[in-house]
Amino acid sequence: MKFTLKVWRQKNAQEQGSFVTYEVFGISEDMSFLEMLDVLNEDLTLKGEEPVAFAHDCREGICGTCGLFINGRAHGPLTGTTTCQLHIRHFKDGETITIEPWRAKAFPVIKDLVVDRSAFDRILQAGGFVSVNVGSAPEANGILVPKKNADEAFDTAACIGCGACVAACKNASAILFVSAKVSHLSLLPQGKPERRTRVLNMVKTMDEEGFGNCTNTGACEVECPKGITLASIARLRREYCKAKIKG
């Protein structure tokens, strides 16, 4: 198979970027999307050009490092899939594919398709934890958690922090990401004493980092590779209101 790739190239955060068109040949349908970029990069290197920088690591859909905006969609045409788990069999031979980085003020471009998502880490550092020192944990089965809550907590804790929700949102809001962590922890009995400060601090940091506001378009839910839903945003709002009212 062969493809025409329109790839965003940008030297660094300061300089303007632009699309550059490349042709790739000899691509097989069993290859992953990133393996196609590997082929492009090998080719560029041998031609003496700089390969395209793109973020990736585990290539099994769990580390959250990869994230490309493919043909106008975060992580490409499939739902529930990270870029590294997207395979060529979902594209038509000869197709033109446009590849861009995540675009959001809070995610400045580092180079080509790589962006800086450290804002996510700072949000988690503002309260995405249970304050428990090593050594002071009670016996594990001493804390009973109803299976339904544990399962729901797991579903939101499955967030990989890739940033697709921000990239998909026209406001570049990080609300789905923040709500996933707030939901995970508020569904469990652990860390209850800090439940209110947690949500207030995390939302405050989210705003300070320059993410936009949520206008309920639901684009984040559609593109989330881990299936985190708007229900967690609703839960975040409840948690936030309760915290504000009760102080």
């Binding site: 030297k11 097989s28 069993d30 290859m31 992953s32 990133l34 393996e35 590997d38 090998e42 560029l44 290197t45 041998l46 003496g48 700089e50 390969p51 920088a53 690591d57 585990c58 290539r59 099994e60 859909g61 769990i62 580390c63 959250g64 529930g80 899939t81 788990q85 997207l86 395979h87 580092i110 800086d116 998502r117 450290s118 996510f120 880490d121 988690l124 550092q125 503002a126 309260g127 995405g128 934890f129 249970v130 428990v132 090593v134 944990a137 594990a140 089965n141 804390i143 009973l144 958690v145 109803p146 544990a150 907590a153 797991f154 804790a157 499955a158 990989i160 922090g161 995970h184 652990q190």
Partner: protein, 636 residues
């Protein structure tokens, strides 16, 4: 340099408590006067940074990823072992200890393994307290499953994403310390050298991967938790960035490297499908709880699996190993799979066998199977385009984990005072084969419960004095690193880094893979030497060292793999026995099981660097078994 394992005296079950009681402490007010560098933010590194930060030390945490949360522990699937005995099925600390020693084919240190089993229970408590959403039963209590090499259910899990959940738990504790100011994170930074002053580890040189800046960082102690070197084989279940650079460069500064040839091959991975394949994906060992492994009895049986009746199927693990069945340890399962494929019975004549959950789906219903393994089935379908709910998975073994690593004593300190190694990057607990769900256990035991104690013991005698980055040792290390970076960019040859890496991987898989022989190892060593020489003449890296340059990063890692490969193959050649994952074809029983030679090889092989192109010096740590009786492993 000398090797003293510092194993405490006394009975096995009392060693750790007695040792803890004898370790020196650092006063709480003095802890903040000490700086500690931690390399890596996987389970071992994140838990170490968190627990050392909680104690009040100044911790600097480095990782090459863009965020600490992305370290490859995140991809661990199946679970974590702990001797809680919640099932009332006969489990105990002793049994977990014994299973681990036996699973490692009697090539691990008893005292360390016993301590690991002892600490396992507290890990679960800690993780639950952090809010790790483990699988639960309807009564709200924790659920368990079984893993290979055991006959009890002691594995705690969170679907097929246990590593993710445990890592996010450890990271949340580390982030809390960041918010409290005890830990400072340096993402996008790669350690490129260790700095040793007056015989002690006193800092590192790291490269900022975004700006290219090469800079020194000082500390009173350095903790390496940089993971395994499985990527040396190019195709492995490791993340693309996983590398051996931190431990290899520490080795070249005097830390001994132990048992490099103990590299684990995981039986159940998605087979290689194309020439361009960039990595292999694991299908969790947890699946062997409910899945049955089989091949068609007859060669060239090209019927689709649902058309092959029971009598034409060979459930070879169940027939070969009736006591453990599909849940034999990884090395045993991998070899059995290779054996049937070598006989030409692989599915479609290829290197693949079925891992079939059809019976379990019939017995338990699709919903239960989906709840247990849903994410794995999805992953499989995305990669292969086939649904395991309808067609059995096809699997084949792949490189997964390294039991070998830096040699450490009972305190997890390497042969360089002040340099510690935790988690997969050390050699200590798994012998010649790691049991499933034990890597998470070891990483967290090391980081949460061991290093906080042994670190204070080291620092108590050291004194608060800081070293300056202006010292010649730092300048020399910086210059060496800068020179290497310049060299990569100036070769301007004709082959890419990946091209060299792929060839190295093939040489190793062919010669030092699932089965090894004197001839295959000698051939591999010759080929590695030739390839390494070509690398330095014909490498092509474009771009500059002043921005993000992923080819340049890879060049550094592959240059280290090319050196480590020779040590790995040399160790495999020297170990003229079969044990665990290390299968020398010359040493096998009549039914193709590994045959150990305890007379000659009941030791850990620790290598000391002697300089470029000089053979490493071997030091032997004799393994003494006081509790576990040396016996031929049997899972029949």
């Amino acid at each position: 340099m000398t090797m003293n394992s510092h194993i405490p005296d006394g009975k096995l079950e009392e060693k750790w408590s007695k040792h803890k009681a004898n370790l020196k402490l650092v006063n709480p007010a003095n802890k903040r006067k000490f700086d500690i560098i931690v390399i890596g933010t996987g389970l071992a590194g994140a838990s170490a940074a968190a627990s050392l930060g909680e104690l009040g030390y100044n911790v600097k945490s480095f990782c090459f990823q863009d965020s600490p949360r992305r370290a490859h522990s995140i991809a661990a699937q199946g679970g974590i072992n702990a001797a809680k005995n919640y099932r009332n099925d006969g489990d105990s600390v002793y049994r977990l200890f014994y299973d681990t020693i036996k699973g490692g084919d009697f090539r691990a240190r008893e005292a360390n393994v016993y301590r690991l089993a002892e600490l396992s229970v507290a890990i679960i408590d800690q993780a639950v307290a952090q809010g790790v959403p483990f699988a639960r039963e309807y009564g709200g209590l924790l659920d368990n499953r079984s893993f290979g090499g055991t006959q009890v259910s002691r594995t705690f899990y969170a679907k097929g994403q246990t590593g993710q959940q445990l890592l996010l738990g450890a990271i949340s504790s580390m982030y809390r310390q960041i918010s409290l100011g005890t830990v400072k994170a340096f993402p996008f930074h790669e350690m490129l050298d260790l700095v040793v002053i007056n015989g002690r580890a006193r800092g590192i040189v790291a490269r900022n991967l975004i700006t290219g800046e090469i800079k020194s960082y000082t500390a009173h102690a350095v903790v390496l938790a940089s993971g395994g070197y499985g990527n040396i084989f190019y195709l492995s279940t490791n993340a693309k960035g996983s590398n051996a650079t931190a431990i290899w460069r520490a080795y070249k500064k005097g830390a001994f490297f132990a048992n490099p040839c103990f590299t684990q091959i995981h039986p159940t991975c998605i087979p290689v499908s194309s020439h361009y394949q960039s990595k292999l994906t694991l299908m969790s060992e947890g699946l062997r709880n409910d899945g049955r492994v089989w091949v068609p009895k007859n060669k060239n049986d090209n019927r689709s699996p649902d058309q092959i009746p029971e009598e034409d199927r060979d459930y070879f693990l169940e027939t070969r190993y009736p006591a453990f069945g599909n849940l034999v340890p990884r090395d045993v399962a991998s070899r059995a799979i290779k054996l049937v494929c070598d006989e030409g019975k692989g599915v479609g004549g290829k290197n693949a066998v079925y891992l079939d959950l059809t019976d379990a789906i019939k017995r338990l219903g699709k919903d239960v199977i989906e709840e247990r393994y849903g994410n794995l089935f999805e992953m499989y379908e995305k990669i292969t385009g086939e649904s395991p709910y309808k067609t059995p998975m096809r699997i084949y073994p792949a490189i997964h984990y390294c039991m070998g690593g830096l040699w450490v004593d009972y305190n997890l300190m390497t042969t360089i005072p002040g340099l510690f190694a935790l988690g997969e990057c050390n050699f200590s607990d798994h012998g010649a084969n790691r049991l499933g769900a034990s890597a998470l256990m070891q990483g967290l035991a090391d980081g949460y419960f061991i290093i906080p104690y042994t670190m204070s013991n080291y620092l108590a005698d050291l004194g608060f004095e800081k070293v300056s980055v202006d010292r010649p040792e730092f300048k020399e290390a910086e210059n060496k690193v800068k020179e290497q970076v310049r060299r990569f960019l100036s070769i301007k040859g004709n082959r890419t880094v990946d091209d060299f890496h792929k060839e190295l991987g093939k040489v190793l898989w062919d010669g030092v893979g699932m089965s090894r022989s004197e001839q295959s190892l000698k051939t591999a060593i010759d080929k590695i030497k030739v390839l390494r020489a070509e690398f330095w003449k014909n490498l092509k890296v474009n771009g500059t060292d002043e921005t993000l340059n992923q080819s340049l990063e890879k060049a550094g890692r592959v240059s280290d793999f090319l050196e480590l490969a020779e040590l790995l193959a040399g160790d495999a050649l020297l170990r003229d026995e079969s044990c665990g994952c290390h299968f020398r074809v010359e040493h096998q029983t009549d039914d193709h099981e590994a045959k150990r030679d305890d007379e000659k090889f009941s030791y850990a092989a620790a290598y000391e660097y002697q300089g470029e192109d000089k053979p490493a010096q071997l030091h032997k740590e004799e393994l003494k078994f006081e509790e576990a009786h040396l016996a031929a492993r049997s899972y029949k």
